[in-house]
Symmetry: C2
Subunit: 183 residues, 2 copies
């Protein structure tokens, strides 16, 4: 069940789509439009990729589509989220985000978006959790830094880069709280 891919590159917008569908049934075209409008700076997803994901979600049983014929426009498939899909989404929303920069930029902000919509301080809790995770990640990287052989200059540089990025992410997280309060 809920067999998450383990490798870090696997940041699929499928949960964003599930999240939109959790708010109510709709069709692929609309989902793509909403993704662009609300999270377009986070996800850069083509229309066809959107449909690809919907196809997969349907095959997995997270959503079901019903065909509606329209008089003159192309037929629509309206997707509904299933109980299984809803459970997967809730599960994902409660899963802490890793501390890679990419995970924060993409997965964390997406989670934050849906948590914020629900109100009641969920977003703030999410941020505080993430601050803790990033702090721990920083410590881990800092101790890893000492283990390099001197000839591995570029591995060291790579690690320093990640450290700087994580520190910046931490600053951003702390600023995030204020931004979300002020709107």
């Amino acid at each position: 069940m809920a067999k998450h891919s383990t490798y870090v590159g696997a940041l699929s917008p499928e949960y964003a789509l599930l999240g939109f569908l959790e708010q109510g049934a709709t069709h692929g075209y609309d989902l793509h439009r909403r993704l662009l409008f609300h999270l377009g700076q986070i996800w850069h997803i083509s229309q066809s990729q959107c449909y690809n994901i919907l196809k997969r979600l349907e095959a997995q049983g997270d959503i079901v589509g019903e065909l509606y014929e329209q008089p003159r426009l192309p037929d629509r498939r309206i997707f509904h989220i299933t109980e299984q899909g809803r459970a997967r989404f809730e599960d994902w929303l409660a899963t802490p985000t890793g501390c890679s920069v990419r995970a924060i930029r993409v997965e964390f902000i997406t989670r934050l978006y849906f948590a914020h919509l629900r109100g009641s301080g969920e977003a703030e809790r999410l941020i505080q959790n993430q601050v803790e995770i990033v702090r721990q990640g920083l410590e881990r990287l800092q101790s890893a830094q000492k283990t390099f052989a001197p000839e591995q200059t570029f591995n060291r540089l790579g690690l320093e880069f990640r450290l700087q990025q994580l520190r910046a992410a931490l600053d951003w997280l702390q600023n995030c709280v204020k931004t979300l309060q002020g709107d």
Copy 2:
């Protein structure tokens, strides 16, 4: 020719492999080991992915492999870089890296690695170029910041995140010069 993929996710270690092969012919197992040792913090590549790429490079004519039978160990395929492959590599090395954080962390550091090996100030020039590119990117993002509708809080947050990350990258670049001089 040199049909680069256009989308940002496309950061293939193929050029790193070409770069190693440009230093001399060798086999897949050794290439994977070298990639891990010298750039393991930059590329997280499984063995099979390494072989996948070699297969593609051979199909494209950038490298050629010759089979060597060994008495008791598995056969080896020794790969040589072709003239076309060498040209592709040189081309890539001279191409400026984009200003996404990921591109810098991965592509830029890889370029820097090979430029540094050649000496004669190539690495320093690369860094100075990149500083300029990142500065321009920062300005572009800063002006994009003003164009958001007020309801697009999360797009704005996403953009702020990228801004912070780029500023940190700029600091890192400036530090880089010192690190490379001091070894």
